[in-house]
Symmetry: none
Subunit: 157 residues, 2 copies
């Protein structure tokens, strides 16, 4: 997205490094003035330098280039997670057991009784029993009401 301005900086550093390397080579050469080079090997030498430095250039470019990252912002609606604090007092006051709370949560997620039963590895009838107890304790008639009441009382997020 906003990575294009980085390109100049990257190239600059690469170029600077190239110049630095060249200078280093010059220095080396300067210090070894009296080294002997046979004339006919010159082309090989120059070619080697060319190949090596091109490889170096490619390597540098590949290594030092940061991959472009494209950000895709995906909107996720949340149930204000940081806000939810389980109201344990209410749980105790209403005398709701762990299992019942579990069923209540799954219920609020939109699961059917059958789905809840499968998820908790119990029978459909068991879930129905839990529901009946829950409705009684929450003083409601339907699951939708149970969800509403439980949310209001911070029993479920």
């Amino acid at each position: 997205m906003a990575n294009t301005p980085n390109f100049l900086a990257k190239n600059k550093s690469i170029i600077l490094y190239g110049i630095f390397l060249a200078m280093l080579l010059f220095l080396l050469k300067w210090l070894e003035l009296r080294f002997i080079i046979i004339n006919h090997a010159f082309e090989i030498y120059a070619g080697s330098i060319a190949v090596i430095f091109m490889a170096l250039g490619i390597w540098l470019a590949l290594k030092l280039t940061k991959p472009k990252t494209i950000l895709i912002e995906k909107e996720v609606f949340t149930e204000k997670p940081e806000t939810f604090i389980l109201n344990e007092k209410e749980l105790i006051r209403l005398n709701i057991s762990k299992r019942e709370l579990e069923v209540l949560q799954l219920m609020a997620e939109g699961l059917s009784n059958q789905e809840i039963a499968l998820k908790l590895f119990v029978s459909l009838n068991t879930i129905k029993t839990h529901n009946a107890r829950l409705f009684e304790k929450l003083a409601v008639k339907r699951r939708t009401q149970a969800i509403e009441t439980a949310k209001k009382r911070n029993i479920i997020p």
Copy 2:
């Protein structure tokens, strides 16, 4: 962003590579002890070759390489505001009518279809029809799921 930790690694690799290059040069020199350096022009020539080909390598790598792109899906959590703000865009997007929204709200309050029908002075069948349309538009199967989805999308408080 989080580039600072990369600096050391990069510099290290560069330094290592420099050392490696220097060693390679020494090796070359050692093997070509009797080579004669005629004049300064040679160093200039070799250096030029080095620089040019490294530049070529960099250019090649940058131009001919497919841009490295990394897709990052970032989840943007939109908090549910305390004061409910209706997400009208979502309503329009989902093509939910006024009446359907009304039914949805009452549904979320825990009313049965019969109760909603009485409240809106229409027949039970009408409510069922509205429900069916709602479920289709919200891509859900049950009223509990409809409520959950609608709340997440700020269609209902």
